[in-house]
């Protein structure tokens, strides 16, 4: 399997628009970070995917942010990422020197309005995102070879996950949207142990985010012990999660699979819910948030630095292996779409809360 180096068309377009806007602005922030340092708060433990991605980005940010600040990645684990995000809400000053770098584990509790959440993600200013695509694959013993077989497996489908309201949510919503008949076993420690259970044959349908898929599952696919079925998809020109994941152009997106199975494009509250949660999980998977009230000057500094990192050949070659070869999305691309995903309609929110409390017994 090859990973294309061409970024999403839409992103390129957006970046061009943004760059155009910047070109007119005076180069005011030449050395904004000279002599300063940035604390990058990762609300998970060392070694997790978010930590790995933060460490991967650290040297590129140091090199390309004006004034070459020292970037310190600090982990603040606890409360399924809620503790670190709450800390950030209470302590971070809007001066661009503290960044919250996190995943859907932080945004889902916010979208669902869970009790422990004290942070207001929608009021924060996203500085950039790194897509965090995902591939759903099955065991060959299920007899499933194409999406069309999903409704007629040889054996009952068993999915292993962590917790319904965390990073499993978009995949569970995809299963819901596609009306798959499967047994969900929740309570694994992480996606790694869940994948081990798949390898042992205890479960037979699984998904992994791009970095883990690249390093662990690709070999299984080559050895014939895993069959990739679909990717979560990426936000396309229409602003919805309908495009193929640029890291996996050969795999259909959930959107396409729905079309194939049902003969029409997905719609309705099930789709809206998948679209909202899926977009924050996959497309804006790892997002760097700046505190509310961060001045535009800082946003522009990041806008330029992100463009420069994307053009850095060193980044392009290293990111393929480490984080799936995606380009970083600048704030101009991210802000509006992410804001919309973080504040879904009441219908979608009610649907999510109903589904979680009735089907997955989640206390909200």
């Amino acid at each position: 399997m090859t990973i294309p180096e061409t970024p999403l068309k839409s992103i390129t377009a957006a970046a061009l628009v943004a760059a155009g806007g910047l070109a007119v602005a005076p180069a005011m922030a030449e050395e904004y970070y000279a002599g300063k340092s940035i604390e990058m708060v990762v609300p998970f433990g060392e070694g997790g995917a978010a930590y790995v991605a933060a460490k991967f980005l650290e040297p590129f940010l140091e090199e390309h942010l004006p004034g070459n600040p020292q970037v310190n990645v600090n982990t603040r684990p606890g409360g399924g990422s809620i503790l670190g995000a709450n800390w950030f809400e209470q302590n971070a000053e809007p001066d661009g020197e503290t960044i919250l770098f996190t995943t859907s584990s932080t945004s889902n509790p916010f979208v669902l309005g869970m009790e422990a959440v004290e942070y207001d993600l929608a009021a924060m200013r996203p500085a950039f995102s790194l897509p965090f695509g995902a591939v759903i694959y099955v065991s060959p013993s299920t007899g499933i070879e194409t999406p069309a077989d999903l409704h007629s497996p040889n054996m009952p489908l068993i999915y292993g996950g962590i917790a319904a309201a965390a990073s499993d949510l978009p995949v569970l919503l995809a299963f819901e949207l596609l009306e798959l008949d499967l047994q969900t076993v929740l309570g694994f420690d992480g996606r790694g142990p869940a994948r081990l259970a798949f390898e042992r044959g205890e479960t037979n349908i699984d998904f992994q985010f791009t970095p883990a898929y690249m390093s662990q599952v690709v070999d299984m696919v080559e050895a014939g012990s895993a069959v990739p079925i679909m990717s979560g998809g990426a936000v396309g020109d229409d602003g919805t999660l309908s495009a193929r994941d640029p890291a996996f152009p050969d795999y259909p997106s959930v959107y396409e699979v729905y079309e194939e199975l049902n003969g029409e494009a997905p719609s309705g509250v099930e789709w809206d819910a998948f679209q909202a949660i899926g977009a924050t999980t996959f497309n804006f998977g790892l997002t760097a948030y700046l505190p509310k009230g961060t001045p535009d000057e800082v946003m522009e500094v990041f806008e330029e630095a992100i463009a420069a990192i994307n053009d850095d050949p060193d980044y392009q070659s290293k990111s393929e292996e480490a984080v799936g070869g995606y380009d970083l999305l600048p704030a101009s691309t991210v802000a509006d779409a992410l804001g919309a995903s973080l504040q879904p309609s009441d219908d979608v929110r009610d649907y999510l809360r109903d589904l979680l409390s009735n089907k997955y017994d989640v206390e909200l």
Binding site: G48, R76, G78, I82, L83, A163, G192
Partner: protein, 655 residues
């Protein structure tokens, strides 16, 4: 393969990398020796520095630390009786008892040698097994993982001591501590009292630090004088070599058990150490010395824990699923250097694999040698007035605990558990079962629900489950057979050794503390029972396993204590009264830290400890205090965190 082994040696034997390995070993040894801190603290302190080097040197540094942790913590476990981690609790119990008998050198020597053998076994397994270990790790499904945790808990029960009721109640309490936080099988947070701090449950380092280290520290500051009331002679090393040689096969078997524990992600060192200890217990004919200073207990535990922490790297490198917390940090480091663990790594970078093996082997041997060399000096420290050592020690514990989530909750949890540990110690309630119950509650509950959801009840017939279960059943059967045979040959008046559960131990302790402790347990278990009834059905099973027997046992203990106190006539015996000021001082330090922050509260603590407790002269106290303060600030700076800030007032630091 052979050429890879040699070229890997070439990779490692470059001055910078060897130096990195030694620096890592040094950090690992220091952190191993500091009570309560262990692998996780050492590796996370080193983490920022590894990025200053090339990948091989950075990894060598981490491996150096990982390989010696369980060798060096033998020193503190034996000399202080405070284990660095749950996996060293057997060493602390047996080894410290030996030290009190004047056989410290025997316990230390056997401990070092067993650790070394465990480390070498681990290295051997890494080199031989990694290419073939995949199927073995995959053969261990969730039912096997569940069974493994269960076996660990059963063997830990052998540690509950002579007073069975007290020991079991302690284990139940450990389970209760372990179920705090999110339930694995139902979306239910348990016992979090609306605090997001408790959502992920209590962290292991903080529980170990609080229960053991803080409690020991209070007692020793209050006692004044040195760590060991009277100078403890180390004794001769030569005895320990003989003793080690006598038990060489036990050490090898314990190492194999430890390696097996390392293959099992998430259960790891705690369970396998207890299983090895249980194995030592069941394979020893004369069991009377267990709990009172049995060298076989030290040998088995040390062999197993070092083997585990190294074979934890097997699932880490094969499946990128870390076997333990230190391995998890190592995994993060591998990623950061652009190595992607998995079956492919084994074939693509064999040099890296063997460099890891060499690092581990070299560090294990050198670590043991260095431990032999430094022990006499450390033993001398045990005669220095403890208040002088307590000052830096307490600050290190605060810094170590604060690393957990960097919220004030860490400090609060540390102090609350410290008080609890102090109460338990003075009430004669063993703390090791609490720790084991705490550690194993989570994997047991998680794997139980996963197992029954995935496999229904067919899991009971899986061969792996049966093999692991036989670890419990076979020694039990052998024991019964042996006892029956003994009885048959010796007639029926055979005295029953070691099972005299008359609770003699608890009576000799401070009776009012015992009463407070027992009342506290009744209250806690009673409250937990009421709270538990409100949980969702799937979130209830594991807590009820701790709460129901815990409540019954603590009610029984309460009745027994009341009867005993009435019979003895004495209403209150406040032998531990002289420790109360120290307890109060440390509590005040916590409150002061909350109000005025670490930077202001710490000088006050230092003044109290150095001038008030250790009676140092003003100028020397000032000098020493400044040095300790600087080191504490340096630790926070090294961990790239700011010390806890006060809610009222905060002293800004010039840096």
């Amino acid at each position: 393969m052979f050429e890879n082994i040699v070229s890997a040696l070439d990779l490692l034997f470059q001055p910078v990398r060897l130096l990195a390995l030694f620096v890592g070993m040094l950090a690992g040894m220091i952190f191993g020796m500091l009570p309560g801190l262990g692998g996780v603290a050492a590796v996370s302190i080193l983490l920022p520095f590894i990025y200053l080097m090339d990948g091989y040197a950075g990894l060598a540094m981490l491996l150096g630390a990982i390989s010696v942790i369980y060798t060096a913590d033998t020193i503190t476990s034996v000399l202080l009786g405070a284990p660095g981690s749950p996996a060293s609790a057997p060493t602390a119990i047996e080894g410290h008892a030996l030290a009190k008998q004047g056989k410290a050198s025997l316990a230390l020597g056997v401990g070092f040698l067993a650790s070394m053998v465990g480390g070498l076994f681990g290295a051997l397994i890494l080199s031989v097994a990694i290419p073939v270990a995949g199927p073995l790790v995959l053969a261990l499904g969730t039912p096997e993982l569940f069974m493994f945790a269960l076996v660990g808990l059963c063997f830990a029960a052998s540690m509950v001591g002579k007073d069975l009721a007290v020991g079991l109640a302690a284990a139940c309490f450990g389970i209760l501590l372990g179920v705090v936080g999110a339930a694995p099988a139902a979306a239910n947070y348990r016992f979090i009292f609306g605090q997001s701090y408790l959502m992920d449950g209590l962290s292991l380092p903080i529980v170990a630090l609080g229960l053991f280290a803080v409690a020991e520290l209070i007692g020793m500051v209050a006692a004044g004088g040195g760590i060991a009331g009277k100078p403890t002679p180390l004794g001769k090393w030569s005895d320990s070599f003989c003793e080690f040689w006598r038990h060489r096969w036990l050490v090898c078997r314990a190492s194999v058990i430890g390696i097996f524990g390392g293959f099992v992600p998430a259960v790891g060192a705690s369970a396998s150490t207890w299983i090895a200890y249980g194995h030592a217990l069941s394979s020893t004919k004369d069991k009377r010395n267990f709990g009172k200073g049995e060298i076989r207990g030290v040998a088995s535990a040390e062999g197993a824990n070092n083997a585990t922490i190294i074979s934890d790297l097997v699932p880490t490198m094969l499946f990128s699923v870390p076997g333990g917390p230190a391995a998890a940090i190592f995994l993060g480091a591998l990623f950061s250097f652009g190595f992607y663990p998995g079956p492919r790594m084994v074939s693509e970078s064999p040099d890296l694999m063997y460099m890891i093996v060499w690092s581990v082997a070299l560090a294990s041997v050198l670590g043991a040698a260095i431990c032999f060399a430094v022990t006499p000096y450390i033993a001398r420290l045990t005669r220095v007035n403890f208040a002088l050592i307590a000052a830096p020690l307490l600050l290190i514990m605060v810094a170590g605990a604060y690393q957990g989530t960097r919220t004030f909750g860490d400090i609060l949890a540390l102090l609350a558990l410290g008080i609890l540990g102090w109460l338990m110690k003075n009430a004669g309630v063993p703390r090791a079962p609490v720790l084991v119950g705490f550690v194993l509650a989570t994997p047991m509950e998680q794997y139980f629900w996963l197992t029954t959801q995935i496999h229904g009840f067919t899991w009971l017939t899986r061969p792996g489950v049966l093999i692991i279960a036989s670890l419990i059943v076979i020694p039990l059967v052998l024991n019964v057979v042996r006892r029956l045979r003994q009885r048959w040959s010796a007639g029926h008046d055979e005295p029953q050794p070691q099972t005299a559960a008359d609770g003699g131990e608890i009576a000799s302790h401070d009776s009012s503390v015992v009463l407070v402790m027992v009342l506290l347990m009744v209250a806690v278990f009673g409250y937990a029972l009421v709270e538990m009834l409100g949980f969702r059905p799937n979130a209830r099973l594991m807590p009820s396993l701790g709460i129901v027997p815990g409540l019954l046992l603590s009610l029984y203990l309460l009745g027994r204590q009341l009867v005993r106190m009435r019979r003895q006539g004495a209403v209150a015996n406040l032998a531990s009264r002289k420790e109360l000021p120290v307890l109060g001082g440390i509590l005040l330090y916590g409150i002061a830290m909350w109000l005025i922050g670490f930077n202001l509260a710490t000088p006050l603590l230092l003044a109290w400890l150095l001038i008030g407790c250790a009676r140092m002269r003003w100028n020397s106290a000032l000098l020493y205090g400044l040095a300790v303060y600087a080191v504490a600030q340096g630790m926070f700076a090294m961990m790239r965190s700011t010390p806890p800030q006060g809610v009222l007032l905060n002293l800004p630091m010039p840096w």
